[in-house]
Structures are given as C-alpha cells and as structure tokens.
C-alpha cells in the first residue's frame, strides 16, 4: 500500500495549486458564481495546457497516465480552490473510455487531454448525472449495466436548479439507439469507485480550505476585547475539525491505492473514503460557519462557496449514508452491492 504520492506528483500538484491560486481565486469564483455556466472562463484550457485534463489518461493518448494515488494531490488542490470545473467527471469518464478502448477512446481521449472535450458519466445511485450540462460526450449506464456513449446533441440534459452553480447535477433523457458507441466489458463499478475517491479527495481539500479560513478569521476577529480564537469554545471546535480532517485524509489516500490496484477491498475502501471525507468536510463546514458567525452567513463573504460545494459533493456520487451502508454490508455481511 502506498499512502502518499511520488515526489514528482507532489511537485506537479504544487504547480497546479499555483495556477489555481492565480486563475481560480475568490474573485474568479465570484464571477463564475454569477455567470450562466458557473465556470471560470479560460481555466479549463489552462488546466489542459498544464496537463491536468490528461492527468490520468494513458500516455498513448497523450496523457500523463498517473494512477489515482499520484493524481490525488491535484484533486485535493481542486477541492481546496472550490474549482467549478468538471474535472472529476471528465477524468472518471476518461477512465471508462480508456478501459473500454476501441474507437470511442481513440477519438475522444486525445480531445480530453488537449482540453477540447468535457465528459460526464452516470447516473449516480439516485439517478442524476453530475456536470452533464458541460459534457460533450456522456457515458450513460442503463439498468442492465450496459454503458453507452452519447454525444451532447443526442441527449436531453436538464440541469437541476442547485445551490452550487459550480457543480450541478442534471437529469438526462437518452436512448441507447442514439449512442455513438457501446462500451462493453468495462467494470462500471470500478470507475464509479474511481470517481468516488476523486470526489473524496476534493472534499478533503474543501475541509482544509474551510479550516484555514476559520482559523484565519478566529485569529483576527475580536469580540469581548480579544481575538475569538482565544476562547476555548472556538479553539476546541476548530481542534475537532482539524482532527476530523486529519483522520479522513489517510483513509482517502488508502482508497486511491485500492482503486489504482483494483484490490478486492476497492469498493469498501472507496465508500469509507467518501464517508469519512464527507463527514469531516461537513463538520468543518459547520464549524467554519459558526466561527464566522453572521459574516459567514452572507453571500458577500467567500465562505458560502466552499460550504455549498461541500454540501454538493457530499450528496453527489452517493451520499454519506449510502456509502456507510456499503461499508456496513461489506464489513458485516461480507457483501458489496453493485452500482451502475
């Protein structure tokens, strides 16, 4: 088991983080929040130039071919920045395409790498597709487990009015007869688990960012003549938030390895990761809001964008209870339910 990525991967993630600090700062996020598509103009292109959209795409398609363990720090960074781009959707769907191989992979993966195609896949456990509105190609599973590739024009996407403009679920109406390809023989569950862990990593990044914001605010905001961070009630809430985040992180790291190696415990570990990261990020979100008080409750303060992304990513790809039940089944009954 590897719990940490290679030094090279860490170094790459640091450069991505620099890019996001520059091009996806709070100002860019606020502008995205008020825009129609909720995205940061030009960011996807810059991510592609840096190699992020091809991060986990095979080298034969022009990507970097990183495994999930090495890709994790980039995903954490994207969560930390509350980046409103369909990165997990695209990379996970690319996994599916690549595993299926054939013409769809050959024609679409190079476009993913160069940043000219966005992908989506689904539906999740309760029937929605994350980021469908942005996708040029959608990989959709039917009830029998068949997976079909459909181009944007062949499906009818209805984005759901969501609290988070950056990551919106949608319903998708489609027919297998419109598919450009049928992706046979791929393990859809393995790719679902891949996406679950990727989202868990983003939740860890969100937790880190909200903890930083709350700590920063607690150090500067004064009430009763002192910085509020001097009050034990504030300190202890923040300490608990730190502990929750610290203990979620290695669980997510381990799950990345289980997914990368396709271990028998893969689904259990992925669900454990999503559960732990969602619970941790949820706790940090509550604490961060409470520490910020009325200021944090405004749309004008940046915190709300992180809160809402946390709620959204916690709910999508199976919510914490769904994942906990999957772990419970695995641990107690020795069975893991399959998902589309």
């Amino acid at each position: 088991m590897r719990l940490r990525p290679d030094p090279d991967a860490l170094e790459f993630a640091a450069s991505v983080r620099e890019l996001l600090d520059r091009s996806c700062d709070a100002e860019a996020l606020r502008a995205a929040w008020d825009s129609a598509d909720g995205r940061v103009p030009g960011l996807w292109k810059r991510l592609a130039e840096m190699g992020v959209t091809g991060l986990t795409v095979g080298e034969s398609f022009g990507g970097s071919g990183m495994d999930l363990t090495d890709a994790l720090p980039v995903l954490v960074a994207s969560g930390r920045a509350a980046m409103p781009e369909p990165l997990v959707e695209t990379l996970a769907a690319a996994q599916l395409l690549e595993r299926a191989g054939g013409g769809a992979a050959a024609s679409w993966l190079p476009r993913v790498v160069e940043g000219s195609a966005v992908l989506a896949l689904g539906p999740g456990p309760t029937g929605v597709v994350s980021g469908a509105e942005h996708a040029d190609l959608l990989l959709l599973a039917d009830d029998a487990g068949g997976v079909f590739a459909l181009e944007r024009d062949a499906v009818r996407v209805t984005p759901l009015p969501s609290v988070d403009t950056g990551v919106r679920p949608a319903t998708v109406e489609w027919s297998a007869s419109e598919a450009v390809a049928r992706l046979d023989g791929v393990d859809g569950l393995a790719v679902f688990d891949w996406a679950v862990v990727a989202v868990a990593a983003q939740l860890v990044g969100l937790a880190e960012a909200m903890l930083d914001m709350a700590v920063g605010y607690a150090k500067t905001r004064e009430q009763f003549g002192v910085a509020i961070g001097a009050f034990q009630a504030v300190k202890h809430q923040l300490a608990d938030a730190y502990v929750a985040t610290s203990f979620a992180r290695p669980v997510v790291n381990r799950a990345a390895w289980s997914v990368a190696q396709d271990l028998p415990s893969r689904s259990r570990d992925a669900s454990h990761a999503k559960h732990a990261a969602s619970v941790a990020a949820g706790r940090v979100a509550r604490t961060a809001l409470q520490v910020h008080g009325g200021i944090g409750y405004t749309f004008e303060h940046d915190l709300h964008m992180w809160l809402k992304r946390t709620w959204t990513l916690s709910a999508l790809w199976g919510n914490p209870q769904w994942h906990k039940e999957r772990v419970t089944s695995s641990v107690i009954q020795g069975a893991t339910p399959r998902v589309p």
């Binding site: 509550r286 809001l289 709620w311 959204t312 209870q321």
Partner: protein, 391 residues
Amino acid sequence: MSAIYGRDMAIVRERSGVDLSVEPARAAWRAEVRSWLAANVPSAPLPSLDTADGFAAHREWERRLAEAGLAVVTWPSEYGGRGVDLIDWLIFEEEYWASGAPARVSQNGIFLLAPTMFEFGTEAQKQRFLPPMARADEVWAQGWSEPGAGSDLAALRSRADRVDGGWRVNGQKTWSSRAAFADWLFGLFRTDPESSRHRGLTYLLMPLSAEGVTVRPIRQLDGEPGFAEVFFDDVFVPDEHVLGGVGDGWKVAMSTTTSERGLTLRSPGRFMAAADRLLALRAESGSTSYDADVAQAWMDADAYRLYVLDTALQALYGKPIGAESSANKLFWSEMDVRIHETALGLLGERATVDSSWLDGYEFSLAGPIYAGTNEVQRNVIAERVLGLPRA
C-alpha cells in the same frame, strides 16, 4: 406572568400541570384557528419574504391575518389582538405551522419589539405603533448588531447625541434582519458617549425612510437580501421614539430576551410540523436508512413541545422565565439543523437541488448564530443557572 398579554393573574386559575387544550374553550379556539387557516392559507407557497415581491405578498398575508384577528393573538384586543394566554398561543402556533401557512414577515415587530413595548412603552407609543404593526402596515427591522459587536453586543458604538427635542444618531448597524424592505427599525444606541459596555445605551425607534438613513441590503447564504447594513448619518430621533428610559437600553432590550421571547422566538408548532413533513418525506422516499434519525427528530420535536408547554404553564403560575430561554434556544437551534440534515439525507443526490428543505437547511444554519450565539447561550447557562465563575 406580566401584564403584557393583557391578562390578570387572577383569571389564570388553571391548575398547574394541566394541558388545557382538551378543555372546551381551548378546543374551540383550536378549531377556530384551524378552520380559518384551512380556508385561507395560500395553496401555493409565497415567494421568499427576502425578495421585494415576496415581502409584499407576505405583508398582504399579514393583513389578512390581522383582519381575521389572528395576527397577534396574545395582544389585548384594543391593539388588535385576542388576549389569549400562552397556552392558546402554543395552540395557535401548532395549527399555524401545521397548515403550511407563510413565514411571518412581521416577526421582528410582533415577537421582539411588541413584548418590550408592552412592558416599557408609554400608552401613546403603544397606540401609535402597535396597531399598524399588527396590520403589517409598518414592518420592523431590528438593529442590534454592528460590525464590531456581534456576539459581544455590548461593544456597540453607534451613538445618539442629545439635541433639542430628541437625539442625533450616527453609526452603523449590520445583520439587520428584514431591513432591506422594512419600514421602521428598533435598536440600541449609545446615548452616553462616556459610557462603555452595557451602560449608557438607549432603545430607539426610527423610520427607515428618515433623512440620513441608508440601507444597504446584504445577500444572505441563500443569495436573498434577508438582512442589511444600515448607516446613520445625523438621523434625528424625537424623544417620543425612545422606548424605556434613556440609558436603560440594555435592561429594556434584555428583559424580553430572557422572558417570553425565549418561548416565542421559535414555537414548538414549527418543529412539530417539520417532523411531520420529515415523516412524509421518509414515506415518499421508501428508504429506511434514516429511520433512526427521523424518529429522533420526532422525539426531539415532541420533547421541545413538552418543555415549552411545561415552561408556559409555570409562567402562567407566575414563575419568571429566566435562563430557560437559553436552554430553549440551544435545543431548538440544534434540533432544527438535525431535522434538515436528515431531510437532505433522504433527498440523496438531490439534496442540494432547490427545495423547501434546502431553504430550511440554510435557514437552520443561522439558528446557532443569531439571537445570541450558542456559545454565548452556553455561557449564560453555565454562569447564571449553574453558577459557574466568569472567566
């Protein structure tokens, strides 16, 4: 109980510990409220009261309530009320929220300002302010917090300087709920420039249309302007708009904070209705995954109902309501978050799609912050109820 509900102690003869809702008069009251609501509650939800349209629609709803004599049921009839006691108020609230009736845009006025006015206001003030408040002809915003005075309210610095016939107000309030669309504002201002903390404050009333008042709406978590910053630039407030004594503002404001307001801020009926809706959501979902949480929500709402009922019965017997209001606030605010978290869980991947549950969740998150943060409430219980030393 004080006289603010217009009842003489002598007529409150009910036996302590008896829920009178099964007595004929109570039952009749419940039936009257229920039937009026059934006939009058709008079939579709009104737009958010934090939008211009929604505010107007809610104001209109308040007028209909007032015409039916149901806007301010605990007030004496001379000011537009029905003179019912706390028990009947609890019954009213149960029916109100169970019926799916709109949120109360007049809440600041009728639940926060009015009790204070009954206790400290002059007869002229009561006659001037209460009837239009009951009819929502004048909707009130509250002006407590300032940028530097949130949980530490006593740090407030907005000042009112003595001038001929009144006060000249300068400074800034923030997180002023309803201020974006309201007509009047009540709040605390520092009238003694030499004073600090809780001393030298005065409770003032002023129209938001007054010269020198600037309202800058603030979008709250859900993006709507539920509150505002209010700036005061040489705003003149005449003496007749001082509530209570000059320099007594803290006492005036707090007397109701720790009395009935602790009970009336969030009535049990709201949470009973929410728990019932949660049960319905569970039934629709067909999921058993949240049964423990749904049952806990139901138990919590029930416990809250019993606690408030017990406290109200004690109040009817003249026992002052003190730190119960802090325990109350901790309980309902945490319960409210849990109820909504459970609902969002049941909604699964659609949790963050617009819904009344999502709106309710966002609103519930404000609960542990406003009206005295839960940290402050825990201090209050520890120090005033349990007698632990101040730090």
